[in-house]
Every structure is written in structure tokens, then in C-alpha cells.
């Protein structure tokens, strides 16, 4: 464990960013390259490619995106890593990345691709706040210090920027932030003698993450998954039920309509054409 704690995880993550950038294109990677190296497309995650939940946290959409995220990682990562240890840092990065990706899959539409490590970076910001809350004399004691206050401003400013720029996924940011905060507060930081509720909160947090992951992999109420399931089954009655449910989900109503069914077929046909293009080498 001690030896594992000497591995420079932050540096390895930064190297991962740069390596993936060079494998795609560090300046302006094409959609096809990002797709092949694992961008997060919710429909593909539920269609048997769950590794995209993590691989997307190492991909970036251009040199500016890469520069911002690498700068943020290298500014906050080493101090956090020295505080909590390398093994915990590695786990935190992956769990926060997973949380951000799950949020995107559960809340966003199934066909919007997302790349970037910012969900995990927000998870690190959340982890810093959670750690400070745990270490200070009182839950709000950390607000007396300049460092945590700056982190809070950083979070607020970045979330505000994300609200105005359509190409930034605030869903991933918020998902990563909450996951990193919760995970660090409940599992990574030191508990004290008065935490009677800690075991109950730990179980609830783990259960929430697990069931949301289940919903990400099997989104039983999302039209693309229902359509894929309908195509895969040989039971005609089940297929009819699934297509009806898919049309209801697509039309966002409790009754399937012909317009929703046509829209669904059109969207799925378009998705398949797009995927065929992206998969061309």
C-alpha cells in the first residue's frame, strides 16, 4: 500500500490526457477519432460499450480544452494527492469520472456525445471541499480559510460559464462535483465519534451510485434502448410492447402516437447511419 501511494497519479492522469490527445489529434480531433477512442455517447453505453463511461474522462475536444483541463489538474491534483494519498486519488478520479458520466447518461439525451476530464476535475474540487469540511473544527469552519473559499469561487465561476456556453456539459460537472464530494465526505476522509449516521449514509450513497449505474447501462425508459431491445427480441408480442414503449418515451407522453413512432424510426435510422460513418476507418 505504501509503495502504491508513491505512484504519481496526477502526473499519470496528465500523461493520459496528453497521450490520448496525440492518439487522436491534439489540435482539433475529428468526431471519428474521438468516437473510436471512447467518447461518451449514452446510447452506445447502454448498447454494450460501458467502458466509454471512463474512457471519455481522458479524451479532449481540442488543444484549448486539453490545456484548460491539464492546467486545472496540475494546479489542484498534486496537493490533493499528497493529502489523501495516491491510491485514494486514483479511486477518487475514477469514481468522480464515473459520476459525471452517469449524470450525462441519465439526464442528457441519448445522442449527445461528451468528452473531457472536467467531470472528474469537478469531483476533485468537491473532494477538496469535503476534506476541508471534515478536517475543520466545524462543518463550515473551512470558510475561514482562503484556499477552500477560492475553490468555491472556482466552482461557481465554472458552473456559471457552463450555463452560457452550449458546448460545455454542466451536467457532467455537477455530477462529478456531487460524486467527488459525497465519496470523499463519506468514504475517504476521517470520521469522528459523533457520526452515528455515517454507515447509513455510506450505504445509501453506494446504493444510489449502483442503481444509477444500472439505469445507465439499462435505461428501461429511454427510447433508444427500448428500440434496440425490440430489434434484439424474437418474441413478437414483446417486440410490439417495446416499440410502443419506445414511441411513448420518444413522444414523452403516456400514449404512443404515429408521429412519435415515425420520429423514433427516423432518429434510429439516422443514428445508425452516423455510427456507420464514425466506424469507417
Amino acid at each position: 500500500m505504501q509503495q502504491a501511494d508513491e505512484v504519481p497519479v496526477t502526473l499519470l492522469v496528465a500523461l493520459g490526457y496528453v497521450t490520448m490527445a496525440f492518439l487522436t489529434d491534439p489540435i482539433s480531433p475529428a468526431d471519428q477519432q474521438l468516437h473510436q477512442y471512447g467518447w461518451l455517447l449514452p446510447t452506445l453505453v447502454s448498447d454494450g460499450e460501458p467502458w466509454r463511461l471512463l474512457s471519455s474522462a481522458f479524451l479532449h475536444g481540442g488543444w484549448m480544452h486539453l490545456a484548460f483541463n491539464t492546467y486545472a489538474l496540475l494546479s489542484t491534483g498534486p496537493a490533493l494527492e499528497r493529502t489523501i494519498g495516491s491510491v485514494r486519488m486514483a479511486i477518487l478520479y475514477l469514481v468522480a469520472a464515473l459520476g459525471g458520466s452517469i449524470a450525462v447518461c441519465v439526464i442528457n439525451g441519448p445522442l449527445g456525445p461528451v468528452v473531457g476530464g472536467s467531470g472528474a476535475l469537478f469531483g476533485m474540487f468537491g473532494a477538496i471541499l469535503a476534506w476541508q469540511m471534515r478536517q475543520a473544527n466545524s462543518a463550515l469552519g473551512f470558510l475561514n480559510y482562503d484556499g477552500p473559499r477560492r475553490i468555491m469561487w472556482l466552482i461557481a465561476i465554472n458552473l456559471a460559464i457552463g450555463m452560457f456556453l452550449p458546448f460545455i456539459s454542466n451536467t457532467a460537472h455537477v455530477g462529478g462535483l456531487l460524486t467527488g464530494f459525497g465519496f470523499t465526505f463519506l468514504f475517504l476522509s476521517r470520521s469522528n465519534k459523533t457520526d452515528h449516521w455515517l454507515p447509513a449514509w455510506r450505504i445509501a450513497f453506494a446504493a444510489l451510485l449502483a442503481t444509477l449505474l444500472m439505469h445507465t447501462l439499462r435505461p428501461t425508459t429511454r427510447w433508444d434502448w427500448l428500440w434496440h431491445q425490440a430489434q434484439a427480441t424474437n418474441d413478437m408480442q414483446r417486440r410490439s410492447d417495446l416499440l410502443e414503449a419506445a414511441a411513448m418515451s420518444y413522444g414523452n407522453s403516456n400514449k404512443p402516437t404515429a408521429a412519435a413512432a415515425r420520429g423514433l424510426e427516423f432518429s434510429m435510422a439516422k443514428l445508425q447511419r452516423t455510427l456507420a460513418e464514425l466506424n469507417k476507418r
Partner: protein, 291 residues
């Protein structure tokens, strides 16, 4: 409850027993966020189970839940905005909630942890009281119950421990214990905590159905310590329960009076509620002043 003799050889002083069961009502503030998380966590499982049999039903449940959530959010936002403008208890409640949260979240953990560690080696009534007091500030009722009870068990002659036991018992609805504890605090130190023990004794008497004793205690309190928005409000409630409508209206009017200075959030909460009482009892107000 058990009784022992006071060190001064005075009247017997009640002792509490440890291991108080906290009713669900008092534990609810700590439980509802957990319940909300479990509800969200179980929804995907429920949808998956339903979709195995009837995928349309699962989609209908999800759509309906989404619509209800959006409509509820809209109604809550509109009601909150309107309530903040026209219903005085709502902003007063928000201010009190914010203050309580700030107090609870700013309470220093150091002394409580230190006191708990010390108690493992050497137990004293004062140390148990310190833990209970800090836990009370943090609304940690299981911890309060455990330590304030033990503190009174070890030394039943500490008025501050009896007072805290009374407050805790009143909060969890253990009225006989609260009555005995406030009475003991008042007996051990007359006018304890600037009359707060006496005021709460009156409240406990009212809630326990001892209306005459309660009205007498309120009158004593107001004579000895002057009234506050809270005491007038509670006094008004007791008078109303005793069927003295006009006197109650006067008490509510006194509770709703313009304070001329910024009130604490607790006092402000009672003033806001008194203002609503004054609206509801206009026919009983001699001057019809319902600010």
C-alpha cells in the same frame, strides 16, 4: 424517572434515566434526506422490474413522475414567492432555519470529541453535560438523550443539566420528564437562564393539560422577567386553550407588537406566528390592530 434528595437537604430532585427512545418526529429532520436518497436509488430498480413485464407501464411511470416533479416544483416556487410576500411565518421560518443551520454547522467539534474521549477514562456529570450541550446545538438528539440523562443521574443538583434535560424532553414529547426537569431547574436556581426554565415549565404544563398551573406560571414569568414575543405567544395559546379568547387576543397582540429593534430569529418566528393569529382572531381584538 427516580427521585433523590438534594445536597442541601431540600426537596427531592428528579433524576432521569439514560437510554431515552427518540420518537420518529424528532429524528425526522435527520432521516428525510436519507429517505429521499433511497427513494431516488430505488426508482431505477422499480422501473426495471416493471419493464420486465410491461415496458409501456415503466415509461408511463417515468413520464408521470417527471410531469408531477415539474408541476410540484413550479407550484412550490410560486407558493414560496407568494408566501414570502404575504405570509409572515414563511420568511421568519426561513430566517430561523438559516440561523439554526449556521449554528449547528458552525458548532466546534473539538470540545465534543475531547469530552467524549475524556469520558472513556473518567466520567463526571459536568463532562456528560458538556457533551449533551454541544450535541444539542448540533441537533444530535440521540447523543443529547444519552449524555444529559447520565449527567442528571450522576448529579441531579445541576440546574443547567436539568434545564437541558427539560428542553430535550420537551422536544421529544416526553412531557412528564420535561415538567419534572424544568421544575427542578427552577427550584435549584430560581430564575435559571434568565427565566427560560420557568417559561418552558409553563409551556410544558400547558402541553400536559395543566392549564391553570400553566397560566399561573406564565403570569409569574412575565411578572419576574417581563414578557417576550415567545412568552406572549405561548401564553396566548394557553389562554385560548383555557377558553379566555379576549385575553388570548391581547396576548397575541402583545406578541405581534412592533419590536422597535431587530429580533433574534427565534423571537421573530413567534412574532410572525402571532401576527397570523391576530388575523385569525380579529373579532376578539379590542383595537383591531392586526399588523
Amino acid at each position: 424517572m427516580a427521585e433523590t434528595s438534594n445536597d442541601d437537604g431540600g426537596e427531592p430532585v428528579p433524576q432521569a434515566t439514560t437510554g431515552v427512545a427518540i420518537p420518529l418526529r424528532a429524528r425526522l429532520p435527520a432521516l428525510w434526506p436519507l429517505a429521499a436518497i433511497w427513494a431516488i436509488a430505488l426508482l431505477p430498480v422499480l422501473l426495471w422490474l416493471v419493464s420486465q413485464q410491461a415496458p409501456q407501464t415503466a415509461v408511463a411511470i417515468a413520464n408521470t413522475a417527471r410531469q408531477i416533479a415539474m408541476q410540484t416544483l413550479l407550484v412550490v416556487v410560486v407558493a414560496a414567492v407568494v408566501g414570502l410576500m404575504v405570509y409572515p411565518p414563511l420568511p421568519a421560518w426561513l430566517r430561523r432555519f438559516k440561523d439554526r443551520l449556521r449554528t449547528s454547522w458552525s458548532a466546534d467539534r473539538g470540545p465534543i470529541t475531547r469530552a467524549l474521549s475524556e469520558l472513556q477514562h473518567f466520567e463526571t456529570a459536568q463532562k456528560h453535560f458538556e457533551v449533551a450541550k454541544l450535541a444539542w446545538i448540533r441537533s444530535d438528539y440521540p447523543l443529547v438523550g444519552k449524555h444529559v440523562g447520565r449527567s442528571v443521574e450522576l448529579d441531579a443538583t445541576m440546574p443547567h443539566a436539568q434545564h437541558l434535560l427539560g428542553l430535550f424532553s420537551l422536544r421529544i414529547g416526553a412531557l412528564p420528564t420535561a415538567l419534572a426537569a424544568f421544575a427542578a431547574a427552577e427550584r435549584l436556581d430560581q430564575g435559571h437562564a434568565f427565566g427560560d426554565a420557568q417559561l418552558h415549565l409553563a409551556r410544558a404544563q400547558h402541553l400536559n393539560g395543566q392549564l391553570e398551573a400553566s397560566l399561573q406560571t406564565y403570569a409569574d414569568y412575565e411578572r419576574n422577567h417581563g414578557g417576550s414575543h415567545r412568552s406572549h405567544y405561548w401564553h396566548g395559546e394557553a389562554l385560548l386553550a383555557a377558553g379566555q379568547g379576549e385575553a388570548a387576543a391581547l396576548a397575541f397582540q402583545a406578541a405581534a407588537a412592533d419590536p422597535k429593534m431587530r429580533l433574534t430569529s427565534e423571537e421573530n418566528w413567534f412574532r410572525a406566528r402571532a401576527r397570523v393569529r391576530c388575523w385569525r382572531l380579529p373579532q376578539r381584538l379590542p383595537q383591531g390592530d392586526s399588523k
